[in-house]
C-alpha cells in the first residue's frame, strides 16, 4: 500500500507498473505508441500476440486504454467478457473473450445415450431450453428413421412457442435494464413466471424441462392444462403491453436506440446472424418457413421483418414475434388432434450408421444439430450451432466510433445467452 500524499496520474502509475512487469517478462520496458502493449493491463499473464487480430486490439495508440468489461460486470449477460479499447468514452475496438461458462456439453452428449442427450442440452441456452431439445429430437428421429405421432408434434410446437413468448419478453426487459430502466425487467419476469408455471405443469420442471423424447414427448397435455392455457392467454399481453408503454414510445429509449448499431441485411447475412436480429435487418429468413419442420407448414403465419436493422428494430421485431407466437399458440390449440404422444422406441436406441442434420428457429436464431451415428448407443459426433455465439461476431463490427454506453445497448439487442455461447 502506498502512502505518498500527492495525487498521481493513474495512467502513469499503470505505465510504471506495466514497465516492471514487462521487464520481468523479458520485454522492452516501455511499449511505445503504436506498439504491442501486452496483456497485463487487462489482468492476463503476458505473452506474445498469437494472431494478427490480437496484435491489432492490444496495440495502443496515444490516449487509448483497454477497459476490461466482464466477466463479472453487471451488464454483460452472464459471464461474457469484452476487452474494450477506448479513447475517452469512445470505443475504438472490442475483443470478446469467451469460454467462462464452457461445460463441454457437446462432448458430454457424445457419451450419453440418445435419450439422455435431452438432459444435457437443456442448460445450453437456458432461456430456450425447449428449442434446445427440439433440434436433437428431430435429428435423432431422422437417424433412427421414425416419426413422432401427430399429437406429439402439436405439443412440441405448443411448448416451443410458449418458450419463445417468455424468451422474447425477457429480451424487452434486458434491453431496458442495460440502458438503465429498472421496471421492465420485473414485468418481464412476471410474464416469464406465468409461462414457466404452465411449462412446469406439463413437463414437471421450471427451467430445464427435459420434455422431448426421441419419437415423441414425455407427457401428454390434459383438459386442465388447456383450460389453464386459455386463462393465461386471456391475460398474457397485460405485462407485455405495460413494457411497451414504458419503452416503445419513450423519448429517451427511442433516442438511444434508433439509428444505433445499424446492421444491414447484407452484413447480417455475411456475419451469419440469424433469427429476429436478421429479420430486423429486413431479410425475411425464418427456419419455420424456409425449411419447414414439425407442424409449421400447417400453421398460418407470415415472416415479420423490420426495415431498420438498428437496436430499435431488433426490439420491435421481438415484440412483434412475441405476439405472433401467441397467435400460433391459438392455432395449435384449436387444431390439436387426439392420439398417442410417443412412438414405439426401444429403451436403448441404436440407429444405423449415418448422419443427420436438423435446424429449428430458436428465439435467438437458427439453432441446429448435426449428429453422426456409428451404430452404437450414443452419438459418435454431436455438434450444435448456437445462434448467440454467431451473433456476437457482429458486436466488434458495429461498435467502433460509438460510446461505451452503446456497447451495452447493442449487445442486449442481439439477446445473447452465454450458456449457449460457451456451451
Amino acid at each position: 500500500m502506498t502512502t505518498e500524499p500527492q495525487i498521481r496520474d493513474p495512467l502513469e502509475i499503470e505505465r510504471s507498473e506495466e514497465a516492471r512487469l514487462r521487464t520481468a517478462a523479458g520485454l522492452p520496458p516501455v511499449a511505445r505508441s503504436g506498439e504491442f502493449a501486452g496483456f497485463e493491463s487487462v489482468g492476463l499473464p503476458d505473452r506474445p500476440p498469437q494472431t494478427d487480430r490480437e496484435r491489432e486490439v492490444y496495440t495502443l495508440d496515444e490516449g487509448e486504454m483497454l477497459v476490461n468489461m466482464g466477466p463479472q460486470h453487471p451488464a454483460t449477460h452472464g459471464v461474457m467478457r469484452l476487452v474494450i479499447k477506448v479513447r475517452g468514452e469512445i470505443v475504438v475496438d472490442i475483443d470478446p473473450v469467451l469460454g467462462y461458462l464452457h461445460r463441454g456439453i457437446e462432448k458430454l452428449c457424445e457419451n450419453a445415450t440418445y435419450t439422455t442427450v435431452m438432459t444435457y442440452v437443456d442448460p445450453m441456452d437456458y432461456l430456450s431450453a425447449m428449442h434446445n431439445e427440439h433440434a436433437p429430437a428431430i435429428a435423432f428421429e431422422k437417424l433412427y428413421g421414425i416419426k413422432a405421432p401427430r399429437r406429439a408434434e402439436y405439443i412440441r410446437a405448443l411448448v416451443v412457442e410458449l418458450n419463445r413468448v417468455f424468451s422474447h419478453g425477457l429480451m424487452m426487459g434486458f434491453q431496458a435494464l442495460d440502458m438503465g430502466g429498472l421496471t421492465p425487467i420485473l414485468m418481464s419476469f412476471i410474464n416469464r413466471d406465468e409461462v414457466v408455471d404452465l411449462l412446469s405443469a406439463i413437463s414437471g420442471q421450471r427451467m430445464l424441462f427435459n420434455f422431448f423424447r426421441v419419437g415423441g414427448v414425455n407427457f401428454d397435455v390434459n383438459d386442465e392444462f388447456i383450460s389453464r392455457l386459455s386463462t393465461w392467454r386471456a391475460g398474457v399481453l397485460k405485462n407485455v403491453e405495460m413494457n411497451e408503454r414504458i419503452l416503445t414510445d419513450n423519448e429517451i429509449f427511442r433516442g438511444r436506440t434508433i439509428g444505433m448499431g445499424v446492421l444491414s441485411g447484407k452484413e447480417a447475412i455475411s456475419l451469419g446472424v440469424t433469427g429476429p436480429s436478421l429479420r430486423a435487418s429486413g431479410v425475411p429468413f425464418d427456419v419455420r418457413k424456409a425449411h419447414p419442420y414439425c407442424i409449421y407448414p400447417e400453421l398460418e403465419f407470415d415472416v415479420i421483418t423490420q426495415p431498420g436493422g438498428d437496436v430499435y428494430s431488433r426490439y420491435l421485431q421481438r415484440v412483434a414475434e412475441l405476439k405472433q407466437s401467441i397467435h400460433l399458440i391459438d392455432q395449435i390449440v384449436d387444431k390439436m388432434p387426439h392420439g398417442p404422444v410417443q412412438a414405439q422406441v426401444p429403451g436403448i436406441i441404436r440407429p444405423r450408421p449415418g448422419r443427420a442434420y436438423a435446424a429449428v428457429e430458436s428465439p435467438r436464431g437458427l439453432y441446429s444439430v448435426y449428429a453422426i451415428s456409428d451404430g452404437g448407443p450414443n452419438p459418435y459426433r454431436f455438434r450444435m450451432r448456437d445462434p448467440s455465439f454467431i451473433s456476437l461476431q457482429a458486436i466488434p463490427k458495429l461498435m467502433p466510433g460509438r460510446l461505451i454506453a452503446d456497447t451495452m445497448a447493442v449487445m442486449a439487442s442481439f439477446d445473447p445467452v452465454m450458456g449457449g455461447v460457451d456451451k
Binding site: 502509475i13 435494464l177 461505451i404 451495452m408
Partner: protein, 336 residues
Amino acid sequence: MSVDLLLGVGRFVLATTLLLLMTVPTAFIVIQMEIKVIAQMQLRYGPNRIGPWGMFQSTIHGFKFLAKEDHMPDQADRATFTLAPWMVYMAAAMSMLVIPFAPGVIAADFNIGIVYFFAVIGLSVVGLLIAGWASYNKYSLLGGLRSAAQMVSYEIPLTLSVVGVVVLGGTLNFRELIAWQQAHGWMLLWQPIGLGIFYIASLAEINRTPFDMVEADSELVAGPFTEYSGMRFGFFFFAEYVALFIMSGIMTALFFGGWLAPWPFPAQLDGFAGTIYGLFWFFLKSYLFVFVAVWLRATLPRVRVDQLMGMAWKVLLPLAMLNLIATAGVVVWLNL
C-alpha cells in the same frame, strides 16, 4: 466576550449539530421511500421484514455499512481516497444550512442564502472527481470525469433558471423570497419555464435517473464509487439521498412557496403552532418532489452521456437565457 457573541456561537453550534444529525434520518426516510415506492410501482412487496411494513430496512442498511470491511485498493491514493466521501457528504450537509423549514426555523438566515446554496452544492463534484481519480480504477476514473462534465454543465442552466426567480423577487434571501411569494402568489405561476429547467437540471446535478451517468451501473459498474465499501460508501450513499431531499426542499422554497400552505388553508399561523404548521407544509411539499424523482427512476431509462451534454448546452441553456431576458423585461415593464 460579550453575551451576544456567545449566544451567536452557541446558536450556530446548535444549528449545525442539529442539521448534521438531521441528515441521517432524512437519508433513511428518502431511501425507505425509494425502495418501497419503486417496489409498489414494480408490483413487488419490497422489504417487509424489519419493523412494520419494513420501515427500518434503510436503518439496517445504515448499520450494515458500519459493520462492513473498509477496504482500500492497494494502489489507491490514501489521502484523497479518504477525503472524497467527506467532501461529498459535507457539501450536502452544508447546503442544509440555508433551507427555510418554517418561519424562524432557518439555521443561517443570511442575505445571500441562494448564492451560498449554489456555491456549496457544487462542491460535491470535487469530491466525486477525486474519488474517481484516487481509486486507481478505470471505471472510477471514467465515472469521475463524467460527473465533472455533467455537473459543471448543468450548474449553468440550474443557476440561470434561479436568476429569473431572484430578479422577480428582488432578493437573495430565502425568507424574503417566501414573503414575496405570499404577497404575489407562488413563483410557480410567474416562472413556469424556470421551474421546468430547474427541475431537469437539479435531477442532473444530484445524479438522479434519467441523468445518473455517474453511477451508470450497466456501463461503469458504480462509477466513482466502485472501489468504495463500508462506511465510506455509506457517506456517498447518504449524501446522494440527502441531496435529493435538499434539491426538493430548495425547489419548494423557490417555486412552491416554501412553508406557505396552498390556497384553501390559511397561508401562515402565528406562534409555535405556526412553526409546526410551516414544517408540515414544507416537508409535505418537499417529500412530494422526492416522490416524483423516485417515480421517474422507476419509469425512465438512462440518457446517453453525449445526449445529456447536448441537452444542457443546446436546449436548457438557451431556454434559461430567454427565460431570464423575458423575466427581466416583464419586471421592467410592470415595474415590479
